[in-house]
């Protein structure tokens, strides 16, 4: 009888451990280099772009230019922006916990408002282009797109996320 109970407890422990193991498995992001390439290549109308990303040594400092979210909450990001200071910009941030996506979205909205103010003061002819900016949340991903052909870039983002 004791042996049966011991075996039963062992089975239960194993099952529990397996269950816990599944729960603690880290969430996996889409490959950010591929995501960035797909989004940048979705249109030919982007100017010369420069990119900063979570792959850079000073990644947390670079992200601070566009988002004030705590870097601890961020899983991956990239920021592609016009080298000449035009309005064009693409930002994707993935957060570790989906619950933080709202905070990331708000931080990008703040960044967009700042850019609108800058362009209204220093490059009025570009300012109108920011009115079509897209900010959206898709699961753990938050995206900001400022570009003429923003729908194509958004579609490329959606496709990549769906594949993942």
């Amino acid at each position: 009888m004791k042996k049966i109970i011991a075996a039963f407890i062992l089975v239960l422990t194993m099952a529990a451990l397996t269950g816990c193991g599944e729960k603690t498995e880290e969430v996996k992001d889409v490959n950010f280099y591929d995501l960035r390439t797909a989004m940048l290549n979705a249109t030919t109308k982007l100017p010369e772009m420069q990119t900063a990303s979570s792959a850079d040594d000073n990644a947390s400092e670079l992200l601070a230019y566009v988002s004030d979210i705590d870097y601890e909450k961020v899983s991956n990001f990239f920021v592609s922006y016009s080298k000449e200071g035009l309005a064009d910009e693409i930002v994707v941030i993935s957060v570790k916990d989906e619950a933080d996506a709202k905070e990331a979205k708000e931080s990008l909205q703040k960044h967009l408002d700042h850019r609108k103010n800058l362009f209204a003061n220093y490059a009025v002819e570009e300012a109108a282009r920011l009115e079509n900016a897209v900010i959206k949340v898709s699961g753990r991903y938050v995206v900001l797109i400022i570009a003429d052909e923003y729908t194509q870039i958004e579609r490329a983002f959606d496709d990549m996320i769906k594949e993942n």
């Binding site: 200071g85 103010n117 003061n121 220093y122």
Partner: protein, 396 residues
Amino acid sequence: MKKTGIVCLILAIVIMIGGVATSIKFAYSSFNEMKNITAYIEEQKKLKAEEGITKENDVKIAGSYEIKSTEDISDAYKSGDTSKLNDKQKETLDMASDILKEIITDGMSEYEKETAVYDWMCKNLAHDSNLLVVIPASSSQESDNPYGVLKYHNAVCVGYATTFRLFMQMMDIECMVVHNTECYHSWDLINLDGDWYHTDIYSDVGRGDYSHFNLCDAIRGQQESWDTEFFPHANSLKYNKAMDNMCEASSLEELPGLYTQNLMDKKYSFFVKFTCPVDEEFARRVQAVTGMYNSAIDSMYIPDQGFWLQNQIWLPYENGYVFWISFYHYGEESEAEYLTDEEKEQLNETIQEVINQLYDSFYNDPGDDDGYVEDDSTEDDSTEDDSTEDDSDDEE
């Protein structure tokens, strides 16, 4: 029984005393808490008030560029004592002194000195393109102070404003750096003969056409808003450069010719004084004519350049009113970089010719002055035969 009664009484007294003591203690601690809360509220109010106080210096513009005092440098220039300056300040002083030696001559008035500095800055400095780049290059931080501006000749608005103020303060001319309400732009206020004027070099760099030179509050107020309670009022027109371009008109019909002549003479900001009576209706009609003129020049084709109306405003002057107008003239780098100069010249002539043809087709067609093609089918119930007839007429 008696003993029990006494015990009960003592117990009741103890409970009463305890209750009263607790109430006093509670009231006392509540009072203390209230005191703490009141002090906290007062402290917060004070902090809030301090946050809202406008300052000239130690203000961040566009979240990145800080307006800092440079009085240590100008004081050292005036006293000749550089012992309190650090190496960077000494270098700034040397660069600024060299420029003043080059452009200021003996006997210049304060207005002439200001003009000389404005001209030098408009000609020799350029906008730091990093201002609008999302993640700017690290060197761009120096473009907001005279050290970086004079060394690299690149500036953001704060750089122009603080460098201009440094020059003025070195020459003992009163000058302040103003920032707009949103903290996204800054420029200067300068005192000449007791009157203050707005000068925004950032907006004139590359052109140097004085369209943002020595403006009064009314004109500046059309472009920006700032704390008018903190910064001094600028109400004089005396040193506005457009005063040199004052012209007279006696009717609305004279205005287009007058505007054209001024643009041809490269006078982009000027005043118009009317010799006829000016009432509210006349003022509105002047603005309407100016708007029409603007539409015409805005759509006009001039290779590599163009004009548009920047500002217009009626201002009190002497015993009546004067009309201030400012055109923006821009010259663009030609996009036709793959063409030779000769080809460009020929093509410009061809383009001008066909644009004129297009212009004539719209304005000289007596039958259709609104530019729209009318849909005959909705005009009346004409028969097919009629329309065929019309077509043949047209062909004839």
